[in-house]
Symmetry: C2
Subunit: 330 residues, 2 copies
């Protein structure tokens, strides 16, 4: 009698051990109704043989893999890092695995990853992408973050317009009269762009005078320093408040301001966007409009795994909040 050597037990082995049919084992493994005495014997056999399903055989037959791909520029900018973390968590909660695809903002790499993901038959893709011409097949569910990609592709984002508005209102509440909006340019028509319109709206409704400085492609942060210097009069900045499109930018701007001898928040108040926190304590690194990252993550996963494709809304906009982080007066 030959024994099978050094090879993982299969359903067939379990079936033989338990003295039942193959299909019965399959049902037990998948939690389908099976007569109690059968179930018990199968479960015992599974334990005894330390059986584990082969997910490749499973994927081959069922076309379901319990795997999702996440496309994201990188893992080290705090907003992205937080998204990765929370999406991983939300997937884990549903027993899904996550394939991480760092795209480095490279449109070609984005496309390559999409093809790879689809070829490898993931159950769905969540993507924060920048390629305006990204080609998706019709069969793999896709959830976009921060960018509408067509009627069939739901987009999850925070309420960027309201966030911009909130920033303006906060600055007004904190006594500012003359503010600036700083932003890195983007030719892409994505949701975060709405921060600008929201901010303008807020300034107008509160009677703030404002200026904008939007960097063109290829211009460096130096331009911001020049912009600020142009707006100095007698060693004082004409702005008493600045809204930066991201916390990352805010940090750079704060450093520039300090280098110019200005005090934050005494001379200029600064508000960023995203909700970046320190590692040690959990304090915010600057006053900021906080994106609800856990909720964004949860919503993406929820929509991705939702069976009913018709019921998926084209755009989900989640509420933002203001948080004090030391760079404003409150």
């Amino acid at each position: 009698m030959m024994e099978k050597i050094n090879s993982a037990p299969t359903m067939k082995d379990v079936a033989k051990e338990a003295g039942v049919a193959l299909g019965t084992v399959s049902k037990v493994v998948n939690g389908l109704p099976v007569g109690e005495p059968y179930r018990i014997r199968v479960e015992e056999a599974i334990r005894k043989l330390n059986y584990q399903v082969n997910s490749y055989a499973q994927g081959l037959k069922s076309n379901r893999t319990r795997t999702a791909a996440l496309l994201i520029p990188n893992t080290y900018l705090p907003f992205f890092a937080s998204l990765v973390y929370h999406i991983n968590l939300a997937l884990l909660k549903r027993k899904y695995r996550m394939l991480l695809c760092s795209t480095d903002y490279d449109p070609g790499l984005e496309q390559e990853y999409v093809a790879m993901a689809q070829q490898n038959k993931v159950d769905g893709i969540i993507g924060l992408t920048y390629n305006p011409d990204l080609v998706l097949d019709e069969t793999t569910p896709f959830i976009a973050i921060d960018r509408s990609m067509g009627p069939r592709i739901p987009c999850v984002t925070s309420d960027n317009f309201a966030g911009g508005q909130l920033a303006a209102e906060k600055l007004a509440d904190l006594g500012c009269r003359n503010v600036a909006f700083l932003r890195i340019g983007s030719s892409l028509n994505n949701e975060p762009n709405k921060r600008k319109a929201g901010f303008e709206n807020g300034c107008l409704s509160r009677g703030l005078s404002y200026e904008m400085k939007i960097l063109n492609d290829g211009e460096s942060y130096e331009e911001f320093a020049l912009f600020l210097k142009e707006h100095m009069q007698n060693g004082k900045l004409v702005f008493d408040g600045i809204f930066c499109v991201t916390d990352t930018l805010a940090h750079s701007i704060i450093k520039m301001l300090q280098d110019m001898g200005l005090r934050v928040p005494e001379d200029v108040q600064v508000i960023g966007f995203d909700g970046t926190r320190h590692f040690g304590d959990q304090e915010y690194t600057c006053s900021t409009i906080v994106q609800p990252v856990p909720e964004i993550a949860e919503m993406c996963v929820e929509l991705l795994l939702q069976e009913n494709r018709q019921a998926k809304p084209p755009l989900v906009c989640l509420p933002v909040t203001y948080a004090y982080g030391g760079t404003t007066k409150g």
Copy 2:
């Protein structure tokens, strides 16, 4: 004549289209030698039908999946984020996909992920883990980062001892006479623990007097503030140099020092460990011992995918460097 509806083309379809046998298509797809005229016809058919291999069928037959799992506590601490990024890159270069498993330092979750990864037959696992009792099966290759996990499991790390020594030597070179080492406790016997011994060694050889403050489990950063306050005399700190076990800790300590009215680096010089950089510019956020993350990543992937299991060294120690980041005098 029935047409197959709405289903991805298979090798069989390609074979029929090209008028060749199934095995021939397989060879072409896998780059095995095939007669030129056959190859051309198959390649044309593949293009025409837009054929893509089904990686689940492939995985089922070959037990190779071109997927690796990365276990790591989180994605937002800079050192981890950087590792994730570079390991992803190194895997991509070899056409491997990466399953990201954020463990949040949870030993149970680490074990769960290992089981999941092995069940799903990844080709290998790279893990920066904290569970001293982690159970691995013998069949899935495993590369450990920063912790030796037994003779069969290669460990990749940077030269933590040399890094500690370098920190002491740098502080000595920059004029320090009386230094401190600050560290969060860890019951785990991992490689980064060697920073302490290296630092002591450096202090001794350079004749620096030194003190250590090592946090016990459950103690908060407040303890460091107390420690520092205990070492004040007439508004001056007795230490003129501090080595922090990570940059993250260094940032917190620097903030504490400033809150105490001390200037960095004029009154106290501070060196961290890891090599954290600012996002906007690429400057280091503090003077630091830089870990060679790209090389660590490359080495992990290299070792993981190396066929010859005998040739794998038990420990690979990569060189660190010192980098100026404004919190020392040079």
